[in-house]
Subunit: 219 residues, 2 copies
């Protein structure tokens, strides 16, 4: 994981470094390990600066989410002309990327944090995570699906429904299992392949798009 990639727009380099350290602490030890004193010690800054920059602990958590998301960028290829093979490839790449993002240390830690808070803060962090965290990946998938329809390769009434179908086929209950502490898949690529196969059977227009059943060795 690159520690100090492109600087964020909203934070000074010093603040970014502190936020990166905060994420490290959170990933290592969960929200109990992310104390203001501990962060100040680990990041060589003062608690007073933390409160000046972020207001209070909740502000810090929100800043961490915003900071992490500023580091996520996805390529958008929705403009391309799609062949059926290209669509399948792009869908599989999307599915694999999705699985990898969801299985990432930082993503899991932030989701755990927001879920833990959601029962008492009116799910402010949860909203943040849903609205800003998934926007990029949602937009990418949405673009891909719409492009597939425009190219006559996919058929569906509601793009939302189709996207959620794809998401369900790719992820199933894996995200929750990982949030609960279970290890991820051994082979994301195989899972992505199977999910896209099923998705194309459901929503593809190419009638021979269903492949032979796989050896099914993913889980």
């Amino acid at each position: 994981m690159p520690a100090d990639t492109a600087a964020s727009a909203k934070f000074t380099p010093r603040q970014s470094a502190v936020l990166a350290e905060a994420l490290r602490l959170l990933v290592e030890g969960g929200d109990k390990a992310l104390t203001t004193s501990g962060l100040a010690r680990a990041a060589n800054c003062s608690k007073e600066s933390l409160y000046k920059w972020f207001g209070d602990r909740d502000g810090l958590l929100a800043a961490m989410i915003s900071f992490q998301q500023s580091k996520v960028r996805t390529a958008d290829r929705s403009g391309e002309r799609l062949s059926v093979e290209a669509l399948r490839d792009h869908l599989e790449i999307f599915a694999r990327d999705l699985l990898e993002v969801l299985a990432g240390d930082v993503s899991l830690a932030l989701n755990r944090l927001a879920i833990g808070q959601s029962s008492r803060d009116g799910s402010k962090l949860g909203k943040l995570l849903l609205e800003h965290g998934r926007r990029e990946i949602d937009r990418r998938a949405r673009g891909l699906i719409e492009a597939g329809k425009r190219s006559g390769l996919l058929r569906f009434n509601d793009a939302d429904d189709a996207y959620h179908t794809l998401y369900g086929l790719v992820v199933s209950d894996l995200h929750v299992r990982m949030l609960l502490g279970e290890l991820g898949l051994k082979d994301n690529t195989a899972q992505a392949h199977k999910a896209v196969d099923a998705f194309l059977i459901l929503h593809g227009t190419n009638k021979d798009s269903g492949e032979a059943p796989r050896a099914s060795a993913a889980r």
Copy 2:
């Protein structure tokens, strides 16, 4: 919600009452609201008894999970002879039950609790929830799917894969969204219907099992 249904095997009535109160506190205010002092006050018992019965706070949490699971029973109809309509009905009922269970107050609260702890306790609670919490519902689905195959109505290579496909089609990312604080679906039945349609297209043997596309008004 029936407060005091069948008594558990592992807990005395008094302990069950305390655990029920603990669940109520947890649902109301999240894990911050579930303090030993608060529980003792709310349940009219002494902290000393809590520690005598459950060892420590983690023991109490584990007992809450175990207690809640002892109240969940599912009907098992896997012995029946299945027609295609009966299979579809049973699958839809299963899907609807699954959505309702996942959206339940107590289920969400316990999952949030276990997820919050999973980053620091080696996911002991998470394992508990996964291994014991889903066993019943998993067994029911597994039985249904296997019965469908025996009756020649479903085809698949791996029952696990098929089950996860069904699960993904039914739930998609809804569980995580609800854990993050979002409201559930407006119409679980419509979602169940759509998911089972898709599942039967993928794994049914009856070639005309795919129905006309629905009006898609679930979400």
